[in-house]
């Protein structure tokens, strides 16, 4: 019954999305007020129905209802409760339902909360949202029904891929999806504004919190995904330039550019066409991300159960939405009045440079990700990995960091080059001192890590500089947000550079009690013992580690054997210290009875994710600041009317 109720909710939601689109079309084309008035409530109910469907799917997973095919394929009654819950979206159908649920909720929220945007533009925006939702409901109902019954009903399910049985699953996909889908709201705003030719500061202010919100979640999702891959896959790396990682990075890059250009539009009424373009590009990137993950067109660590037919469906949706939006853009944006202009040396100028460089990085990542497909067209098989991306995107990202330091210290509209250089004196000095220190005390580290450390120090100084001589209590929250986010980038960059410059790695075969060394640590294998988990058995090594003469601590890496499905995974053990992480992985036993151990000492690697969290925190502060200012402005307008 629950499954049928879920399916019914999905059908109703789909029908309401169609209705929402029709009302919008009639309302906008014929200026029909009643049709327009119906759009908002329909959007809210559609969102509620999508939520109901998702909750019902979670219910069948929690109950381990083996009469539902999706539960059979992806769950098992022995599975811990958290993974039964998160397992609802740890598969294709469930994750697409989550996608459309978040889309529905976002649409409903726009309908309920947005008050300052021109009504016609808002209705057009909700119409665009309905069009996107309709496509995904169709996809779910006709090719990926999550509620399909199993016949015959098996005794138990196939279990969930063990790599996914991790708290990361409960967190990583939903945050990324909220990010992806949040960007769809920005896209819908852009389409709505193009339809009514109303691209201006009001539109930018309406769009900005959505872009910010989506961007915060993308940042968190990518940061969490990176840490998850780092400890779960046991390779000791935190970014692999895997196609699916790139698929999440590309929308983030586009959203970061959009975030900055929308500020120019909201504050100075400049960059109108560019901002609209970026909103379309950002959503294209999240659609392409979804497509790459779901079609299995590229080999990837994320290629769990893929299906080219579903890929074709998503591709068709992508063609309709993005192709349509770009045609609308080409046809309409020429008729949008040009915005304000500005001097090259100005805050806007720096933001434009930021946008261009972000776009170049985005282009590099896109080309690098899709190039294997192009090469295949000419009969060449190849894969593109870290050497390409590090050499191309790396240097540009470093230039971007340098501009990032200078931008916030510049004035809007027009500034003098010498004044800017003066304001950059302290951060520049910090960077130079850092460079000198590393050249003297750590000679021989690579040029990119060295530049990374130098620029990270300079950026850290530059990003707190806007607070200089300011009354900190009266500094607006969004300025704090910018400071914290930029500082976060500096922290993260320092972690990346430190990891690639100073990591020590050892692969050893050791007997019990034999001391091994990595970096400043001495590590001995004390024992190997079998342990039993809720749905796996494992061999667990007990390692004692000690730095110099310091106190000893224990690490317990495991090699796990899962029965359903039959898989071996290695569970790394990581000791986090203030200045980095000791990372250990248990391998196999060799012919002489020695155990393989992989040992890494990674100084300050934690800064990578700490920085990511700071960036997201900065976004959150900024969002709070903007929302409270919007609220005050709206209240003033209400009072003026009353």
């Amino acid at each position: 019954m629950i499954a049928e109720a879920g399916l019914a909710a999905l059908w109703f939601a789909g029908a309401l999305a169609a209705l929402q689109l029709i009302f919008t079309a009639i309302g906008i084309a014929k200026s029909h007020d009643e049709a327009m008035a119906a759009v908002r409530p329909v959007a809210v109910v559609q969102g509620l129905l999508a939520v109901a469907a998702m909750l019902l799917l979670i219910t069948v997973f929690m109950q381990s209802d083996m009469s539902v095919q999706l539960v059979v394929d992806n769950s098992h009654s022995d599975k811990p409760l958290l993974y039964k819950f998160a397992g609802a979206w740890g598969n294709h159908e469930g994750s697409m339902l989550l996608w459309v649920t978040i889309l529905g909720v976002a649409g409903g929220a726009v309908a309920l909360l947005e008050r300052r945007l021109d009504n016609r533009t808002l209705i057009a925006t909700l119409g665009a949202q309905a069009a996107i939702a309709l496509g995904f409901y169709t996809f779910l109902l006709f090719s990926s029904n999550p509620f399909a019954r199993a016949n015959p009903v098996p005794a138990d399910g196939n279990g969930l891929n063990p790599l996914l049985q991790d708290p990361g699953l409960a967190f990583h996909p939903p945050t990324l999806y909220i990010g992806y889908v949040g960007i769809s709201v920005a896209f819908s705003f852009a389409v709505g504004a193009l339809v009514t030719r109303d691209v201006g500061p009001a539109f930018a202010r309406a769009m900005r919190p959505w872009v910010l919100g989506a961007w915060i979640f993308l940042t968190l999702g990518i940061t969490a995904g990176s840490y998850w891959a780092y400890y779960e896959l046991g390779w000791g790396g935190w970014w692999f330039w895997d196609p699916v990682e790139n698929a999440s990075l590309m929308p983030w890059l586009a959203a970061t550019a959009l975030l900055h250009s929308v500020t120019v539009l909201a504050t100075r009424d400049g960059l109108r066409a560019w901002t609209v373009m970026l909103a379309v590009v950002a959503f294209s990137m999240s659609m392409i991300g979804t497509f790459l993950v779901r079609s299995g067109i590229l080999t990837s660590v994320h290629a769990f159960a893929v299906d080219p037919k579903r890929g074709a469906f998503i591709l068709a949706l992508l063609a309709i939405y993005i192709g349509g939006a770009l045609i609308l853009f080409a046809a309409r944006v020429g008729t949008v009045r040009a915005g304000n202009t500005f001097e090259a040396v100005s805050r806007e100028g720096a933001l434009v440079a930021n946008n261009l460089l972000l776009s170049v990085v985005l282009g590099i990542v896109l080309i690098g990700t899709l190039y294997p497909i192009v090469a295949a067209a000419f009969g060449v098989q190849l894969s593109i990995g870290p050497p390409f991306f590090d050499k191309t995107a790396g240097p540009i990202a470093l230039i971007l960091v340098a501009i990032m330091g200078a931008g916030p210290l510049m004035r809007w509209r027009r500034d003098g080059a010498t004044e800017v250089l003066k304001r950059m004196a302290v951060p520049g000095g910090v960077a130079l001192i850092t460079l000198a220190l590393f050249l003297i005390f750590a000679p021989g580290i690579g040029i990119l890590p060295l530049l990374g450390l130098t620029l990270a120090a300079g950026l850290a100084a530059a990003s707190v500089a806007p607070l200089w001589k300011r009354d900190l209590r009266r500094t607006p929250l969004f300025t704090w947000g910018m400071v914290v986010a930029h500082l976060g980038i500096a922290v993260s960059l320092a972690g990346m550079a430190s990891d690639s410059a100073f990591t020590r790695q050892e692969l050893v075969a050791t007997r019990l009690g034999e001391p091994q060394h990595v970096g400043p640590f001495t590590i001995t294998l004390d024992s190997i013992a079998p342990v039993v988990g809720p749905n796996y058995s494992a061999l667990e090594a007990t390692l004692t580690a000690r730095r110099g003469d310091g106190s000893a601590f224990t690490l317990k890496p495991q090699s796990r054997f899962f029965a359903t499905p039959a898989t071996v995974t290695s569970e790394s053990a990581i000791a986090t210290k203030l200045d980095g992480q000791l990372y250990t992985v248990l391998g196999q036993q060799d012919e002489q009875g020695r155990w393989q151990l992989r040992l890494w000492w990674k100084p300050f690697v934690t800064f990578i994710w700490l920085g990511g969290a700071l960036v997201a925190l900065g976004g959150a502060l900024s969002l709070l600041g903007r929302l409270s200012r919007e609220r005050r402005a709206w209240k003033r307008e209400e009072e003026a009317l009353a």
Binding site: A273, F291, P308, G323, L326, A330, G334, I373, A377, Q381
Partner: protein, 175 residues
């Protein structure tokens, strides 16, 4: 700004769409073909791994009669699946040599005792170096070697029952 410039993003998207559609339509062939097909076997010498059975070197191949070079390992499940077909080929008079990849003598002895031993020689390829030099990226793979010691074909994956007649025909043709 020129009006036509505004169409550039759309054109870029059409290009992207074309590429991706092609990628989706193109058969996804994930196997890695050896670049050595059609070329003579590279020089190598591998020690014996099982007592009483000689090791393998490239000199064993030419000149002689066409034969099979099977790349396998005792730890490989599809290798167990293809063992009966290799035995059938041996019954049909085919000489089969093997490269055992990253294996140990005792594990291999067990494997041969359990699944049959179709091999004339087995070379011990501890580091996969010979495997890689002939362009094999996984186990099992089987190379057809002609009478002059040239690789004429690479069979990727396990040999199924319906592959056997085909392989026999090709070996006959390579005489």
């Amino acid at each position: 700004m020129k009006r036509w410039l505004l169409w550039l993003p759309f054109l870029g998207f059409v290009l992207l769409f074309g590429i991706v559609t092609f990628g989706l339509k193109a058969p996804t062939d994930r196997t890695v073909k050896s670049a050595m097909v059609g070329k003579p076997l590279p020089d190598f010498t591998l020690p014996a791994i099982v007592p009483g059975k000689p090791g393998l070197s490239s000199a064993d191949f030419a000149p002689g009669k066409p034969r099979l070079l099977n790349v396998f390992a005792s730890w490989c499940l599809p290798c167990i699946a293809e063992a009966p077909q290799l035995m059938a080929l041996k019954q049909a008079g085919v000489e089969i040599d093997a490269v055992a990849v990253r294996d140990t003598p005792w594990a291999l002895r067990d494997f041969l005792a359990r699944n049959g031993d179709p091999y004339a020689r087995i070379g011990d390829d501890k580091q996969s170096s010979v495997q890689l030099s002939i362009g094999s990226s996984g186990v099992p793979e089987t190379f057809l070697i002609d009478a002059q010691g040239r690789i004429i074909e690479q069979h990727i994956g396990d040999i199924r029952a319906d592959d056997v007649p085909d392989i026999l025909a090709k070996l006959r043709a390579a005489r």
